[in-house]
């Protein structure tokens, strides 16, 4: 009678001990560049997370297989599952940051996790690459010197959306008297572009209707009934996860023309349109990179990664929006290391200081994106001390039922509007946190 309990207790204890022990067992390889990858392949937003993680990993594999790494320095990628939860993200960050040669750059992949790791990364001297999410005001480089909003923010991209609408209407003046709905995820994320929208509504005299949709947004009938009654000229959709397809589907069933719905950068993914089926045909969205797989880099990926059986995923997500985002985010990271090596010596892994330096002056002109086989896919980058975003340009794409079709070329954003907004917000943050903004000349 004694044995089962003691045995079970002992087993549990032993298991826990082994598990904890293994946490410390870091396998270091001196000549490798270590790259942690915080991913969310499970959880409510997994459909977006998987594609990103696959693209990110496949690009790293490509560099290792095709080029033997960056000037011979292979990159060791390690994934950690966050499930989009802040606490697990922090745990991942803490677990991975000192493994291998030490992490030099992290892409937290969620605004919440970004906020949690900003103070930690500043202490550790690790670069944060937050692609379109996180603190928009990090685009003002004087306050947070290690955080980069490459290549765009919600604010910049929204100015581009409005430019597109104005162009469709035949000029800014024609916006007067129009009705524009902003249907948004009722969270800070959805509310973020409101400031920009309100500014434009005032300046150009259209009526802005703010329609909140409570997350996760599995049932939206009543919202779209109201929108239908407004009979808007344009709808801006800022959904996330399951809210996007449900919104598109419900809008379709109410007879709202999809051609006049424009999704924000996180309503531009394949998981926004695929589950909506035929209802999504004609739906437009802005995105900060080219859609599809029609780029030279995909030939290399095919040859060195997919055909070699080294693909991270099942291979069915290549060319999706999320996958492309994974590719370009890895692309930026690797280009920064390349530039660091060019400055501080080739053939050895970059340190944190070197990586930070590289990001702070990161320049990827259009010509370089073409060399990388990502011309038109990867937006050029132009980082200065003060500007941690670059040009913030986006393009408009449309879903034809099978694929995203690129409708426009890069659209310029309204820098005069957004840069003061970044500055103001960042300075307020600096004051709260007691950060002295550094000088830029």
């Amino acid at each position: 009678m004694t044995t089962p309990f003691l045995k079970k207790a002992a087993m549990i204890g032993l298991g826990a001990a082994i598990g904890l022990g293994s946490v410390f067992a870091a396998q270091a390889q001196a000549s490798e560049q270590y790259l942690p990858s915080l991913v969310y392949r499970t959880g409510p937003f997994a459909p977006s997370g998987i594609g990103f993680a696959d693209g990110f990993a496949d690009y790293v594999t490509l560099i290792n297989e095709r080029d033997g790494g960056i000037n011979g320095v292979r990159i060791r990628l390690e994934e950690c599952e966050t499930a989009y939860a802040n606490d697990r993200g922090v745990e991942c960050y803490e677990r991975l940051k000192d493994r291998g040669n030490g992490a030099t750059v992290v892409a937290p992949l969620s605004t919440g996790i970004t906020y949690a790791v900003i103070p930690r990364s500043r202490r550790d001297g690790i670069v944060l690459s937050t692609m379109g999410y996180g603190r928009a005001d990090a685009a003002y480089g004087r306050v947070l010197d290690n955080v980069f909003m490459v290549p765009t923010t919600y604010w910049s991209s929204m100015t581009a959306t409005l430019s597109y609408i104005a162009e469709q209407e035949g000029g800014w003046d024609n916006l007067r008297g129009k009705d524009i709905v902003h249907a948004f995820h009722d969270s800070a994320y959805g509310r973020e572009p409101l400031a920009v929208l309100r500014h434009y509504a005032e300046e150009y005299g259209f009526t802005l209707h703010e329609m909140a949709i409570s997350p996760p947004g599995v049932e939206q009938r009543s919202v779209w009934q109201q929108i239908r009654r407004i009979n808007p000229d344009w709808v801006s959709l800022y959904g996330w996860g399951v809210m996007n397809p449900t919104a598109i589907r419900t809008a379709a069933s109410m007879g709202i023309p999809r051609e006049r719905m424009i999704g924000g950068i996180y309503a531009a993914q394949d998981d926004a349109v695929l589950p909506a089926g035929s209802a999504a045909v004609g739906y437009k969205a802005v995105t900060f990179h080219g859609p599809g797989a029609d780029y030279p880099i995909y030939e290399d990926l095919q040859r060195y990664v997919y055909d070699a059986g080294l693909a991270a995923g099942d291979g069915d997500l290549t060319g999706t929006i999320a996958y492309n985002r994974g590719l370009i985010n890895a692309g930026y990271i690797i280009e920064a290391w390349r530039q660091a090596q060019a400055e501080f010596g080739e053939g050895r892994p970059s340190t944190r200081e070197e990586t930070l330096w590289a990001w702070q002056q990161l320049q990827i002109p259009e010509s370089r994106t073409e060399e990388l086989g990502m011309g038109g896919l990867m937006p050029p980058v132009n980082i200065t001390c003060e500007n941690h975003e670059g040009d913030g340009r986006v393009l408009v794409q449309q879903w034809d039922g099978e694929n995203w079709v690129q409708l426009t070329d890069w659209i310029d954003t309204n820098r005069e509007l957004v840069e003061p907004m970044y500055r103001e917000s960042a300075m307020r943050y600096a004051q709260e946190e007691g950060i002295t903004p550094r000088e830029c000349d």
Binding site: Q226, V242, P245
Partner: protein, 294 residues
């Protein structure tokens, strides 16, 4: 006024969809006193298998659906073997926790097989707006409502008119006494979970069609819970009527109250309706009256 009716009808339709999930809870609670949190996971499980078999393996829907129903039988059998049998006569809270365990285990299992990508599930329910006069209806809703009505009638006949239904109610009252007259609890539980599994298949098709099949489908459970409360945990008609009340109440509140207090209120509004109602009548609309004795 027309708009009011449109919102009302839309709300009633959403309510039916909530009730469909709540039904599964009711069945299991009624027969085994188990508050089965895993019901939503069963919905996801069913939807994932139907959509996965169709999408990845090219199995036609008319085959994928019966196969999934068989899988639900297998699932019921496994749950009975591995969980319920081991936890006979534990306190309700322990069983509740165990179903949360089942919730994760089922989701994990389905994801191991199908991953967590989103899939489409379209068995061809028409999805175009339909105008009767100026009123907007949706064909999808009408088909759904008819399916739910048929399902409920079948369930009521099963519970009230069949021998197995009577046995289920007996087991619901007193497990041990039921055992003492020779009822095999194991069989009964498999039957109950299987029936709830069939309901989950229907819910999976309907919700999967509306949302796409993806992990977040389980959040539909949080829409179903207030319906369950308001209807009373043990009443099948209660679940339907409560679904209608909550669906329409929520829609009207969203439209008429939402703009005043800042939008996006439907997540909690249903709970507040249910809570307010229960302060007045703690057992819900049709729940069995709680007889307090000493």
């Amino acid at each position: 006024m027309m708009f009011f009716f449109e919102v009302l009808i839309g709300g009633l339709m959403s309510g039916i969809m909530y009730a469909l999930v709540a039904l599964g809870f009711v069945l299991i609670f009624k027969a085994s006193g188990v508050f089965n949190f895993a019901q939503a996971a069963m919905v996801l499980f069913a939807a994932m298998f139907i959509a996965g078999m169709h999408g990845d393996w090219g199995v036609p829907y008319w085959m994928a659906i019966p196969i999934t129903i068989l899988l639900m039988l297998g699932l019921a059998w496994i749950i009975e073997r591995v969980v319920l049998r081991q936890l006979v006569n534990q306190e309700p809270i322990i069983m509740f926790m165990a179903t949360i365990g089942i919730f994760f285990a089922i989701i994990g299992f389905a994801e191991i097989i199908w991953g967590s990508r989103s899939r489409t599930l379209d068995i061809g329910i028409p999805d175009q707006p339909l105008f009767i006069g100026d009123m907007l209806f949706q064909q999808y809703d009408i088909v759904t409502a008819i399916a739910v009505a048929v399902l409920v009638v079948l369930l009521l006949i099963f519970s009230q008119r069949t021998r197995m239904g009577r046995v289920l109610r007996a087991v619901a009252d007193d497990h041990q006494a039921a055992q003492s007259v020779g009822i095999k609890l194991n069989t009964v539980w498999v039957v109950v979970w299987f029936v709830a599994g069939i309901v989950a298949v229907v819910a999976g098709i309907v919700w999967g069609g509306a949302l796409g099949v993806q992990p977040v489908m389980v959040d539909v459970a949080f829409k179903a819970l207030p319906v369950l409360l308001l209807g009373g945990l043990t009443s099948i008609p209660g679940a339907i009527i409560a679904g209608l009340i909550i669906g329409s109440g929520e829609a009207l509140a969203e439209v008429y109250l939402g703009p005043i207090i800042g939008g996006g209120i439907d997540n909690w509004f249903a709970y507040i309706i249910a809570m307010a109602f229960m302060v007045w009548r703690p057992e819900g609309l049709f729940g069995e009256k709680i007889i307090e004795r000493i």
